[in-house]
Symmetry: C2
Subunit: 372 residues, 2 copies
């Protein structure tokens, strides 16, 4: 299903066929935690900002409105009115970062909801069942995400358990995809590489999960405390052991520079809340560097945020107006800012793909970084 | 500039030519207090919800970002990117409802900003100057808006002062429109009828301001404490004294029923924050009555809010999804709800205009009210 079209060193230009359409890679997935992009963007809005894949969070949707509700409403695509591919995470990361009173056992994790304190159990099977109810295009395996750095002993045991969990995920997904009332019977499953900052654990884990012939492979447990350089080093450590014929996804990453560096090291999929979160606080990416739109100097600036940008915000509005919206706490400011930042990311990915096609990625990367 | 096309009893179908295009009346103006519709709608969004006239608030824009800033940015049309007619109120109503420590004198009003406590003076000339800087299509006269009921003596004196203020407004507007650096040299001025709930004061005031040959006439000081029936009675009191060849504007009104009743009594222009404010709290108008989208019964409802509605929200989203957005505090919920409620109002005005053209307004009104 993944076709490698061209390589520039380790960097890959590919395409990934899914039941909801073909994804051109490298790709940045736009995060809509609760089946909505924070900042007021709808499914149809995503079509206008070059979004290829939307990412929603299993943990949040399981708690509210409940995956059963979404199943009754026809699955997440129909629910949020977005027909292109949607990836759901496993819930694991949120169980470890948001939930309280959690207890990790071989069977899974016991925890309390961050919304109402309700006691919940989630293991590999439950995560797959929830994601099957959501009927996303791509489901992520249920894993334990450890923070960096963590003691070697703990990381080793955890990564071994994550492999056992992955086997259970694969089995359960296969069962769910064969059930008559499953909405998306062709749901794909990505495995997740873990191993903290330890090269040998990472590589060993990668070799084991590569054997399972999954639809794609993610590198998890990064961007959780380590430096960017350490992150790049870990990608380099595991990349040789990742199947060439499967897409690779670096979870929760990152800044434009992080993405360019990771593409160079052979990564195809990315996601990050940062561009939309920064946007909601008025920090905006442009082709000439970052802009804090709250700055007084933009008060009477009648030029667009970025002269080189074709997003709805830049085509229609001035920096002066955007600043006014932020100073007046108008929701419209957030919406226009999120539209711009996500467009910036999606457009950068398009430029990356073009440069890979032309064999000019190295040059493009250098120029882009000098402007960021 | 106002052309009366057809009458059904006192109800009027007309059109009003302005420097920013022709307004088909009766019309509902969509309120964007700080040059943005609360709920995240932009100027271009207004084009999609059948909005003919946007209304912004002089008081708010004078305080933030400042009318001088908007003038530097080319006026309010360019500022918010909306090319159709924009009406600005005079600031009077907000001075009397929001500002603190106000002192009313013959020359104008001394008050403190509700944002930072800054001491400000606003009189007829200042209001005209601010509105000229904003460069709206229609400026409103600076008046004192008294609450209902107020003592007869006070209302009489106030309405007499409002006439003197109106003369000063007209003179100042004329001067401003002749200045070289004025952005909209064809800015229109509407006078405002006052007089509380006292028929003779209202009528006397209306006769006096009618003589001034202004571009339009508003009935002010209603929807500020009196009953709907009293409001209808006052419209009936003053309507015979309003020029037939000028548009009539009932300020700050109202519910769909209020609008239908006022159209029947000869009113052409309306504005109200209620539809967008209600929308932001999940109360939505439909062709079959009001809906509180937070209601549990909509949790798994996959039908649109209103099967008969062609707005973006109803064309693209289910009640179940809308409810989820509200329960999850997603801004998208507010945006979709505001789009729907404003479209409902603008569309109802279109239906009113059609029924007036067909001579079936009375029947339309009766049927519509039975469904609200």
């Amino acid at each position: 299903m993944f076709k490698l079209l061209k390589k520039n060193g380790s960097a890959r230009r590919g395409e990934f066929k899914t039941p909801h359409g073909t994804i051109q890679t490298p790709v940045f997935m736009n995060v809509g935690t609760s089946a909505a992009i924070k900042g007021g963007l709808s499914g149809p809005d995503l079509e206008n900002i070059k979004c290829q894949v939307e990412l929603s969070n299993t943990y949040h949707l399981h708690l509210r409105p409940g995956d059963g509700v979404i199943k009754q409403l026809g699955g997440i695509h129909k629910f949020m009115n977005f027909s292109k591919p949607i990836l759901t995470d496993s819930g694991g990361f949120q169980v470890f970062s948001l939930a309280s009173l959690r207890k990790i056992k071989e069977e899974g994790v016991y925890f309390s909801s961050h919304i109402d304190g309700k006691k919940i159990f989630m293991g590999p099977e439950e995560s797959m069942q929830i994601q099957s109810n959501l009927a996303s295009t791509i489901a992520m395996a249920f894993d334990e995400c450890v923070e960096n750095p963590s003691p070697r002993d703990y990381v080793l045991k955890s990564s071994e358990m994550t492999v056992r969990w992955l086997e259970r995920c694969k089995k359960e997904m296969s069962r769910l995809n064969s059930l008559e009332d499953t909405i998306n019977k062709k749901q794909l499953l990505f495995g997740i590489n873990q191993g903290g900052v330890y090269t040998d654990i990472r590589q060993d884990n990668m070799k084991k999960i590569a054997e399972m012939d999954l639809d794609g492979y993610a590198i998890g447990g990064l961007a959780v405390g380590e430096t960017s350089d350490e992150m790049y080093r870990i990608i380099e450590d595991v990349e040789p052991y990742m199947p060439q014929d499967k897409p690779r996804y670096l979870m929760g990453v990152g800044t434009p520079i992080n993405i360019l560096e990771a593409v160079e090291r052979g990564v195809d999929f990315f996601d990050c809340v940062m561009p939309s979160r920064n946007a909601r606080h008025g920090t905006l990416f442009t082709s000439c560097g970052q802009v804090n739109i709250n700055n007084k100097k933009y008060e009477t600036d009648d030029t667009p945020l970025d002269e080189n940008c074709n997003c709805e915000t830049c085509k229609n509005h001035s920096k002066g107006y955007l600043r006014h919206l932020f100073k007046s706490n108008e929701i419209l400011g957030m919406r226009l800012a999120v539209i711009h930042n996500l467009y910036f990311y999606n457009n950068m990915m398009e430029e990356i793909r073009e440069s890979l096609e032309n064999g000019t990625f190295t040059q493009y990367k250098k120029e882009k970084i000098s402007l960021l």
